[in-house]
Symmetry: C2
Subunit: 140 residues, 2 copies
DNA sequence: ATAAACTATAAAGCGCACTTCAAAGCAAGA
DNA sequence: TCTTGCTTTGAAGTGCGCTTTATAGTTTAT
């Protein structure tokens, strides 16, 4: 059993964020002691980690909420959850693809800068020319 | 030369977003015709595409602004820009790493669901158990 | 007895990246 | 002339994901 503060330390979230998640029904209602203080179980911590994983994938709070709702309803919602997870995967793949594209372009930019730092040009390049230069293969 | 509407169509942004970028100095001041309407040049469009690339990498407006400011100042800011681009690359790599991690876990989840859909369990699993099951290798 | 440390709640606030609104102007076509 | 369509501006509004604030309660140490 962990206090609010401990749960926050373990997960790296703030106590406020944990309460926010609970209010938004991303977490089940956390047990309280007779002082009405929250007592997070190991299962709660696992649960929080799952939410962190989903947040890491930029899944919106609302979608997590829907998923959690199905999960709590149990076995008969399995197919719906299966479909949601498939969509999440597609979404993550899309994000990765975008980032890869941006990474490639940004690396070209870096290479371009490295080249100029080594062999300085004796003439300034306009902003758009610079962009074109690495975006279209080094020719203005 | 493109009207506001055309520039919006070409880039996929809204005219409002284009004005917002201009106000925030992500774009240089766009030329106007004698009706005071904006006239986007091909260079402006290229410029916008660069911003879109940076936004795709989740680079905040403020950072783009700083980068653009250096770019407009020209050649003597090359090293600063070089460093910024390096940081952007590290940042993008970090984002990709996070997404890869989330993707792996989510794929495990999908595999877990597929298995259960084929060979149904005759007992419900609790939420945290389900998570543990795929997160820790299939054992509760 | 008092202060320090932890907790609780509801409500308001915040930073970001836009979007929407309201009021106005110009220009071409019916 | 009047409507339609495009544009302008500043200001206010929106949605998200929390954070901060204000107020209050309990327990432990000094």
């Amino acid at each position: 059993m962990y206090s609010a503060k401990e749960a926050a330390e373990i997960t790296g979230l703030s106590t406020a964020a944990l309460r926010y998640y609970e209010n938004e029904s991303l977490l089940p209602p956390i047990k309280r002691n007779d002082q009405r203080y929250r007592q997070y179980t190991d299962e709660d911590i696992e649960w929080i980690r799952m939410i962190q994983c989903m947040r890491m994938a930029n899944i919106p709070i609302q979608s997590i909420k829907e998923y959690v709702s199905l999960l709590i309803q149990g076995g008969k919602t399995l197919e719906q959850r299966y479909e949601m997870v498939q969509e999440h995967i597609e979404n993550i793949r899309g994000q990765i693809a975008n980032l890869q594209k941006a990474l490639t372009l940004t690396q070209s930019k870096l290479a371009f800068y490295e080249k100029i730092l080594k062999e300085p040009l004796h003439q300034d390049i306009t902003y758009a020319e610079e962009w074109k230069m690495f975006n279209h293969g080094g020719h203005v």
